[in-house]
């Protein structure tokens, strides 16, 4: 090597300050703060509810069961928001996936007479095929979303707004507007309202498991870095050689897969589809994700924060019902919490650099 002009510097300390200690990072994280809020809510309702019913094991089981679906949707939405994308169609996806699954189950479950009587001769296979159908439908729905975003070069807000309409429309067409009901009771008994060790609802267990996997993917795998990196600057991601279209495809595919799973959980809990429902799913999930510390504009994502924040609506509904206050207040409170969270997010973005 030939040195033409020598470096004028002699490098001394490269790093002028050290990193904050782990404990401080945890305490200042949004996930931690939102966990404190959740604990405070639980304490308040515990103190205010008659005989402390709110703190009883039965109520916790209900809370876990009621939040499972929103937790799952919020986990998927964390990846999308982190990547600077959005999926407003997840409610429609949940409905469509549940309808397809229910149709598959009734078709495979036995003769029409048996099915009408709620007596499935072939329940086991039918349920497994139903689960598969829900997951495939959900994933395909997500892939269609991503393909449209990639092809039309329109942002995902518009594309998924349109797909929300398309999805529910198709669900209505398939069912003729009538819910598919009288699904096999085995579905509920062995899955939808089944408990592990008699205490942990299976859907909640699935939500926590998938959340844990998602946390690992987000924080430890290259996939997570590419996801938030793309949300932080899509131009930088492209210049870094990341195939953002493919990444988008994977992200919407994962969101769709989760929506499909949620659709299956839905029919397994209630033994019927709910084609009029799930209208607020997308917004509830987005709210939870933003409250949990993920930036609405991409670049930062917290799976753990989303999961904790996704419990809030269930706590509010549950607590207010126990206190005999109208559960409608839950919507108001969730909205206020969302506003506070967005305000914090804005201030953080505007923080001096």
């Amino acid at each position: 090597m030939n040195l033409t002009k020598t470096s004028p510097h002699t490098s001394a300390a490269t790093f002028s300050s050290s990193e904050p200690p782990l404990a401080k990072r945890i305490v200042t994280s949004t996930a931690f703060m939102i966990a404190v809020v959740v604990l405070i809510l639980i304490l308040i309702f515990g103190l205010l509810s008659p005989n402390g019913v709110f703190l009883g094991p039965t109520n916790f089981r209900n809370l876990a069961l009621d939040s499972a679906q929103l937790i799952l949707l919020a986990v998927g939405m964390t990846f999308l928001l982190g990547a600077g994308e959005l999926d407003l169609s997840i409610g429609a996806n949940v409905i469509l996936s549940s309808v397809v699954a229910a149709k598959v189950i009734t078709f495979m479950g036995g003769t029409p007479e048996e099915v009408l009587a709620g007596n499935y001769s072939n329940a086991g296979v039918a349920i497994l095929l139903g689960l598969l159908a829900a997951m495939v439908t959900g994933t395909l729905f997500g892939i269609v979303n991503a393909t449209l975003v990639n092809m039309l070069r329109v942002n995902s807000f518009i594309v998924t707004l349109a797909m929300m309409s398309v999805g529910s429309g198709v669900a209505y067409i398939i069912t003729g507007g009538v819910n598919v009901s009288a699904l096999p009771r085995e579905l509920q008994r062995n899955f939808g309202s089944a408990d592990l060790f008699g205490v942990v609802p299976i859907p909640a267990l699935i939500a926590v498991l998938i959340g844990a996997i998602a946390w690992f993917v987000m924080t430890r795998l290259r996939f997570g870095t590419h996801t938030v990196g793309m949300g932080s600057s899509i131009r930088a991601a492209q210049r870094a050689g990341i195939n953002v279209k493919l990444q988008r495809m994977k992200l919407f595919g994962i969101m769709g897969l989760i929506a499909g799973l949620v659709g299956f959980i839905d029919i397994s809990r209630f033994l019927t589809t709910n084609i009029q429902g799930h209208q607020g799913d997308a917004l509830a999930a987005i709210a939870a994700v933003v409250i949990g510390g993920t930036s609405l504009f991409g670049g930062r994502a917290s799976v753990l924060g989303s999961m904790i924040a996704a419990i809030i609506p269930a706590i509010l509904i549950n607590g207010l019902v126990i206190m005999r206050v109208g559960s409608f207040y839950q919507l108001v409170v969730t909205g206020v919490i969302l506003l506070i969270a967005v305000g914090i997010d804005q201030r953080r973005r505007a923080a001096p650099s």
């Binding site: 020598t6 490269t14 790093f15 002028s16 430890r220 990196g229 932080s232 930088a236 670049g299 930062r300």
Partner: protein, 271 residues
């Protein structure tokens, strides 16, 4: 001016350069058009290991286009790019990188929310060995270690490797971009106006980093408008006009007025 034009490259007596030097990067007659606009009409230059080559010229002379062609951002329409004497095909940034040519973009192309070390390895993350590799598990420790080494090497100072780059100053971010390029580059670094948006102190910090990069044996091609600074700082200068390199010479003893005259009046000269 005639003298200046004749003072062309290939001189083995170029003070401070290896006498046996082979150019790391050489372009021969590169052409590139955008629609009807001929941005490059046969641009030829040479960049040697261990030197800072300033690429200067008036607006629209084709400096950035030539830099981008070398870095694989634009594919050339014609002409030849040679890496250490071998003709290479560089159709994408990825290909250029594989050949050891890195570019530092004017806007840095950083992900502001990612940390310093995440940005260093963005798109080229190091993975752990074994089973985790299949999953794409990040080897964060190695990445941090190598980022630290690369930053120390250039004497670039940042508060911490785990802060998002958005929390750093413009000069720090620029220094990170240079350090990142140095870490990956095996042959050359192309920089487009690296100090355009910086204050005096930060500019000095970036020039230090650029010099340190050249000292590592890399060829640094620096696109710049700051001619007086380039005369002082760069080892050699390539002057472009109307899409061609009209003159290349060492900066020693060069006068600003000569450079300006060449830049504004020279006719195309096949270097």
């Amino acid at each position: 001016m005639e003298k200046l034009l004749e003072a062309d490259i290939t001189e083995a007596d170029d003070p401070g350069l290896e006498s046996t030097a082979q150019p790391v990067i050489e372009t021969r007659g590169i052409t590139k058009s955008f629609g009807h606009v001929e941005a490059l009409r046969g641009a030829s230059l040479r960049a040697y290991p261990g030197e800072v080559l300033a690429l200067i010229g008036d607006n629209g002379a084709g400096k950035s286009t030539l830099a981008n062609v070398i870095a694989g951002v634009h594919a050339s329409d014609g002409g030849e790019l040679l890496l250490r004497g071998n003709s290479v095909d560089v159709a994408s940034v990825r290909q250029a990188r594989e050949l050891g040519i890195e570019i530092v973009y004017q806007d840095l192309a950083q992900a502001p929310d990612l940390t310093v070390s995440q940005n260093f390895f963005f798109g080229r993350e190091l993975l752990v060995r074994g089973f985790g590799r299949i999953l794409g598990k990040l080897d964060e420790q190695s990445m941090r270690q190598r980022t630290k080494e690369a930053m120390t090497l250039l004497g670039a100072q940042v508060p911490s490797l785990t802060v998002p780059v958005s929390a750093l100053s413009g000069g720090q971010r620029q220094a990170i971009a240079v350090a990142r390029a140095v870490m990956w580059a095996k042959a050359a670094i192309i920089m487009d106006e690296p100090t355009a948006a910086l204050g005096t102190k930060q500019t000095a910090m970036v020039y230090d980093a650029v010099r340190a990069a050249a000292d590592r044996g890399l060829a640094v091609i620096l696109v710049s408008h700051d001619i007086p600074k380039m005369i002082e700082f760069a080892d050699r200068m390539a002057i472009m006009r109307h899409g061609a390199v009209v003159s290349q010479m060492p900066t020693d003893g060069l006068e600003l007025v000569d450079v300006l005259t060449t830049m504004l009046t020279a006719q195309k000269d096949e270097a």
